[in-house]
Each structure stands twice: as structure tokens, then as C-alpha cells.
């Protein structure tokens, strides 16, 4: 399984990268960590005319504090985020989720931005971005814009990125409250069959704010807005969370495949949603 032929370029600045991307658009492939792209090349599922290796673009790396929250460069390796004290402190949900991503060797090379831009609905980081109300900063030769996570993930492997745009940074606002990441996979490190991420902020004895996201239940990660609404200003309890979790999965239409049936995904999404809410609130 050898890759098809392509032109390989390794720009050293962001401007260079943007110029090449503007020229080729979706005929080019952006190479971040390669953990998602290179299997597609080896399997001859992707046939880009040009592969743009972003590995030398230093402007895309780095983890910084920003407005009480975080700014993470798109090319930041997942292992770096996992080990970062700043990330652990300000966005522990990211670290919790990273533990489930593949294995050490994958996280050594895989990047935060690469996983987000790839937008696999069973992937952990898109769900986390949604749960943390992340803002995705994208750039092109035409300028820069910021896309809220709610608008970024469109469908299966599809984001709001235009053909000439690059994801350059993820901004995570300060998280108030507890968080929890739950997933069921066939084996340790596999893509999730189904998963849930929750952030719950308590105000005295009531739930001030809550975000609940489900993954593996459709073509993109799903924010359970209805369930969230049910829980605001309510006292946290096992029963309230169970009811909200049921509401979160009603009407979902996951796929069936050899790993799990649609019924399974829907049902267990509900279980994980409940578990995530309970743990986030504790």
C-alpha cells in the first residue's frame, strides 16, 4: 500500500503555506501530524495533487494563556498538550480526552489542529472543542476569521473551512466548573463507538451552566442543546441527569456498522451522557 504520486512542498512560513493553499485549494492536502492523512494516502483513498507539509511553520505551534483561557497553535503535538501544565489547569477536559486518543506514538505526531480539521465524528477532540465552546481561528490569503465550534463541524470529515483556509489556532475560554469525558471503544485506544463530554458549572446548589456533547452518534459531534436547557438552574441529581441524558439521545440517528448497531450507539450515548454529567458535577 504505497501512496500515489504527489508534489511535496514544505513551506517555512505561514504566508508561504497560505499562498500554496490558495493556489491549489482542495486539490492539495494539508499535512499536519500525518496520523489521519497518511493512512488515506497509503490506502489510496486520497489523491491530492500537492501535499503541503506544515511541520516547519513555527508560527503554528505553541500553547499560550489567553484571557484566562488558552490559545493552542494548530500544529501543537497532542503529546505536548497532554503534558502541558497550562492545559491541565485551564482545560482538563482536553487532557482527559487525549488519554483516549490512539497510543503514545500517535500522540507524539498527531496535532491538535489536525484532528479538529479532519473532523471525524468519532474523534475525541472535535467533541471536546464543542464542549468547551472553542473558537477556531482560521486564516487565508484573504485574511483571518474566527469560527465558533458550534459552526465549525459541518458533517462527516467536513468543516466550515473554505478551500483556501488553514486552521491556525484554537482558543479555549476559561472553563468554570467540572468536566468529564466518557467513551466506549472496542479496544483501548480505538476510535470511540460512542462518547460524551460534559462541562458543568455549579452556582451554589444549582447548575449555572452546562454543555453536553455526544460523539459517534451521527456525521458530526452533537451538542445536546435540549438536554442542556433542561438542566440550567436545576439542582444536580442523578435523576435530573438521567432524564437529561435520555432527552439528549431522543431523535438521534446514529449509523450501524460491524462494530455497533444504531440502537446500541443511541442507548449507550445516553448512558455515557449521564455518567459524564454526574462526574462533571461532582
Amino acid at each position: 500500500m504505497k501512496p500515489p504520486a504527489f508534489q511535496y512542498v514544505a513551506p517555512s512560513t505561514l504566508d508561504e503555506a497560505l499562498a500554496i493553499r490558495a493556489e491549489h485549494g482542495f486539490d492539495s492536502a494539508l499535512l499536519a501530524g500525518g496520523q489521519s492523512l497518511i493512512p488515506l494516502l497509503n490506502l489510496r483513498i486520497a489523491f491530492p495533487a500537492v501535499v503541503i507539509d506544515l511541520g516547519r511553520v513555527k508560527e503554528l505551534t505553541g500553547i499560550h494563556s489567553a484571557d484566562g483561557g488558552l490559545a493552542i497553535g494548530a500544529m501543537t503535538r497532542q503529546c505536548e498538550a497532554e503534558r502541558s501544565d497550562l492545559v491541565r489547569e485551564r482545560a482538563p477536559l482536553v487532557v482527559q480526552a487525549l488519554h483516549h486518543i490512539g497510543h503514545g506514538a500517535i500522540r507524539n505526531r498527531g496535532t491538535i489542529g489536525g484532528s479538529l480539521a479532519h473532523a471525524d465524528p468519532a474523534a475525541e477532540l472535535p467533541a471536546v472543542a464543542l464542549a468547551l465552546a472553542a473558537e477556531l481561528v482560521v486564516r487565508s490569503t484573504r485574511g483571518e476569521r474566527t469560527i465558533p465550534a458550534d459552526d465549525f463541524f459541518r458533517s462527516y470529515l467536513t468543516t466550515a473551512l473554505e478551500p483556501d483556509e488553514l486552521l491556525v489556532e484554537v482558543r479555549l475560554p476559561a472553563v468554570n466548573g467540572g468536566s468529564s469525558f466518557q467513551e466506549v471503544a472496542r479496544r483501548h485506544g480505538d476510535f470511540a463507538l460512542v462518547g460524551a463530554a460534559a462541562v458543568v458549572a455549579l452556582d451554589g446548589r444549582a447548575i449555572r451552566d452546562v454543555r453536553l456533547v455526544l460523539m459517534g452518534v451521527g456525521p458530526k459531534p452533537v451538542r445536546a442543546a435540549g438536554a442542556e436547557a433542561m438542566l440550567r438552574n436545576v439542582q444536580p441529581s442523578e435523576a435530573a441527569f438521567a432524564e437529561a441524558a435520555q432527552a439528549a439521545v431522543a431523535g438521534l440517528e446514529p449509523t450501524s456498522d460491524i462494530h455497533a448497531t444504531a440502537d446500541y450507539r443511541r442507548r449507550v450515548a445516553g448512558v455515557l451522557a449521564r455518567r459524564a454529567l454526574v462526574e462533571a458535577a461532582s
Binding site: 500500500m1 504505497k2 501512496p3 500515489p4 504520486a5 504527489f6 508534489q7 511535496y8 514544505a10 499535512l31 500525518g34 496520523q35 497518511i38 493512512p39 494516502l41 497509503n42 490506502l43 501535499v51 507539509d53 511541520g55 503529546c79 490512539g102 497510543h103 503514545g104 506514538a105 500517535i106 507524539n108 505526531r109 483501548h188 485506544g189
Partner: protein, 154 residues
């Protein structure tokens, strides 16, 4: 079309032209003749192709050669010093750590990374650290024992 690559492999610097669509694995095996790194799946699941890239374990089948430009790579061939085995290799042999040997180089490089960052791991930590490497022959126990033995011997 070729690109120019500068890469240090097992301490030796190579400055050569390479086909950019080659993975690091194919470059090591074909261009440098270092066939100790094996291909088991070419889609990043089995870990047989694991090498150390700038000190961190990486699946060489999921690395294009261009991405290794300017980097340092260590493969299984770089572990022993002439005929003298690395302590991890000795421990693996003493524990009967492998059978067909095809997955072994990948496990060894993963174990080198583990023991560098965690010189006295627990069995559970070893089990998790090697969970990205597949072995079809051993059921893993003898590999884990080999790594623990290496850790014990220091």
C-alpha cells in the same frame, strides 16, 4: 521528482535525494538498507514500524520522508553496540520475549521510550505503554516481563 533529505539515522548523517512519496519506513528499508524496521499494516495500527523520531516513538509508516528532514532517527539496528546487546535486548532474550520476531523491533523502540521517561514502571504502566503495538504470537506477557526485567536490572 525527488527532494533533498538530511537525516541522521543511528548516529550517521545521510544527505541524499529521496522520493517524497516514500514513507520514512520505506526510506529506511529501501534507501538505507536498514530492514530491521518492519511493515505490518501501513496504516498505523500494528506498530511494527515504530522507530524513535527526535526521541519520541513514531510509526514510520505514517511519516513521509520529508517530515523527517533535519531529524534524528533511531531504529532497532541502533540499539546494540556492535555485537554487544543493549540491556533491553538482553532482558527480552532472557524472558523469551518474542516468537516470530516480526513485531519485536517495534516493541523494543516503544520500550526504549517508556524506560527513558519512566525507568521503574509498574506492570500496568508497561501494559498501557505497549498497547499500541500488536503481537500475534506471544499474548504479550513475555514481552511485558522482558521490559520489567530490563527495568529491574537498571
Amino acid at each position: 521528482m525527488t527532494i533533498h533529505i538530511d537525516v541522521t539515522v543511528n548516529g550517521t548523517r545521510h544527505s541524499v535525494a529521496a522520493d517524497p512519496r516514500k514513507t520514512l519506513a520505506d526510506f529506511l528499508r529501501d534507501d538505507l538498507g536498514l530492514t530491521g524496521t518492519h511493515l505490518g499494516c501501513e496504516h498505523g495500527v500494528c506498530g511494527a514500524c515504530t522507530v524513535l523520531l527526535d526521541g519520541g516513538s513514531a510509526r514510520s509508516c505514517l511519516t513521509l520522508i520529508g517530515q523527517a528532514n533535519g531529524s534524528e532517527v533511531m531504529t532497532i539496528e541502533g540499539l546494540s553496540n556492535g555485537e554487544a546487546l543493549h540491556p533491553l535486548q538482553e532482558a527480552m532474550r532472557d524472558s523469551h520475549g518474542f516468537q516470530c520476531g516480526f513485531c519485536t523491533p517495534g516493541f523494543m523502540m516503544t520500550a526504549v521510550e517508556l524506560l527513558r521517561s519512566n525507568p521503574k514502571p509498574t506492570e500496568a504502566e508497561v501494559r498501557e505503554a505497549i498497547s499500541g503495538n500488536i503481537c500475534r504470537c506471544t499474548g504479550y506477557q513475555s514481552i511485558i516481563e522482558g521490559i520489567l526485567l530490563a527495568a529491574e536490572r537498571g
